[in-house]
Symmetry: C2
């Protein structure tokens, strides 16, 4: 049995453009080209196309598919495991998006016009996500799953008032930090007051507190350019100064 593009396409439920594309990238080459230049496919191509579509159905990319169907020695199982991992990551990410969108919808439905929240929600979520990603495992290992979940849940579960308080606290940290940087002494009174405010702020965000995580976060403030930029608002060196203040704070207190 021989097939032209359209016949094969109809049989497999794909467009002729797709077949031409697969030919173009060498994924599915016709058995032969007839005198008029038509692509002619045979049974072997039908079988191969079935395989291709099977893996495509699973969401794999064409390059990945090429490796699997092109080389029988290729470890398709491993490729599938990796693909599964990617899918699971993606799902997790979408779940997070849905949660955020739902929270935003709830806020708007509650008649709260997006203002400052809009400005910082993304930032806030980033903080949680990044922190979770970077230190989650570590914290998890030391303090168990509950600590992490509690931490992740704290901000998301805040009421509007709590959230506003939290935000105000953040603003006052910024102001105090500015004054403290002016003194030049990370161990001075003002700097330590800033660190204490920051501790309170963290407690609200995490629902719990421990000085090691606090110190680690301070270090991150310097390393991550986004946080660095945030704490350098108004004055240079704010992030470093805050880190030093916190390190002294967590070191001396305990």
């Amino acid at each position: 049995m021989e097939y032209t593009v359209q016949k094969l396409g109809r049989m497999a439920g794909i467009s002729t453009r797709t077949l031409r594309y697969y030919h173009e990238i060498g994924l599915l080459v016709p058995a032969r080209i007839n005198s008029a230049g038509y692509r002619i496919y045979g049974q072997a191509q039908v079988d191969r196309l079935q395989q291709i579509l099977f893996y495509r159905e699973l969401g794999l990319g064409l390059e990945e598919i090429r490796k699997i169907v092109g080389d029988p020695a290729f470890d398709g199982l491993e490729a599938l495991r990796e693909h599964r991992q990617r899918l699971q990551d993606k799902r997790k990410q979408i779940d997070l998006l849905i949660a955020n969108v739902e929270q935003t919808i709830a806020s708007k439905e509650g008649g709260i016009e997006m203002g400052d929240q809009e400005k910082f929600l993304g930032f806030k979520e980033k903080l949680i996500a990044d922190n979770e990603e970077k230190y989650g495992d570590e914290i998890r290992a030391k303090y168990g799953d509950k600590a992490v979940e509690q931490s992740n849940g704290a901000i998301g579960g805040m009421t509007r008032e709590q959230y506003e308080t939290w935000e105000e606290l953040g603003a006052s940290i910024l102001k105090t930090l500015k004054a403290a940087v002016a003194t030049g002494d990370p161990q001075g009174e003002l700097a330590q007051k800033t660190a204490k405010l920051h501790k309170r702020w963290l407690e609200m965000a995490w629902g719990s507190y421990n000085s090691e995580a606090h110190a680690a976060l301070a270090q991150m403030y310097v390393e991550d350019p986004r946080f660095a930029a945030f704490y350098n608002q108004g004055q240079a060196g704010g992030a470093e100064f805050l880190r030093d203040a916190i390190l002294f704070f967590t070191g001396s207190k305990n």
Copy 2:
């Protein structure tokens, strides 16, 4: 406070390329361009960028974002609801992909070399998914959620042997259908035997049976080109013939 691309980018945690792109598409236009051609952003742009990034964080496309932040009269809430729906659909789809991949992994780990299964698994899943999509609500309304879930679970929960039986049954339908088409009579003995086989096949796939859904599926076989092509293998008009046979079968029996 004024910002150049890099300053703003660092503050917001995005690349300068992104800012240039947003300028290019008119999503975020700088406050002014200085004599050297540099883009200069002001506070208003910072605020707008925060909004943009907020919605981007939620996974919205830039065009959607433009509508929301550009026009205060635009119904952002509705846009968010639609977006949530899209996200939920996407998640559902990913769940299905994961299930498929996992089943495939399980089969391969079980040492079963993919052969025919590979060829038809995607097809099989499509059947379930499409059927669920098109008739799920209807069936749900009539017979309750449990029926649908049971149906979805039936194939996924099949053992390898059951699955093979199911596949053989499918193959025999195709063969019987071919012979029946040759008789030309959808109400003839052979055609009705085909319809009965098809009923058995469906019972296995759905875990239950009702003639209305059976008739609806038969109609789909004609309307959906993929199924049509499948049942037209070997002889023309196979899908129509099968539909007519099933319609007579479900109509006369009950």
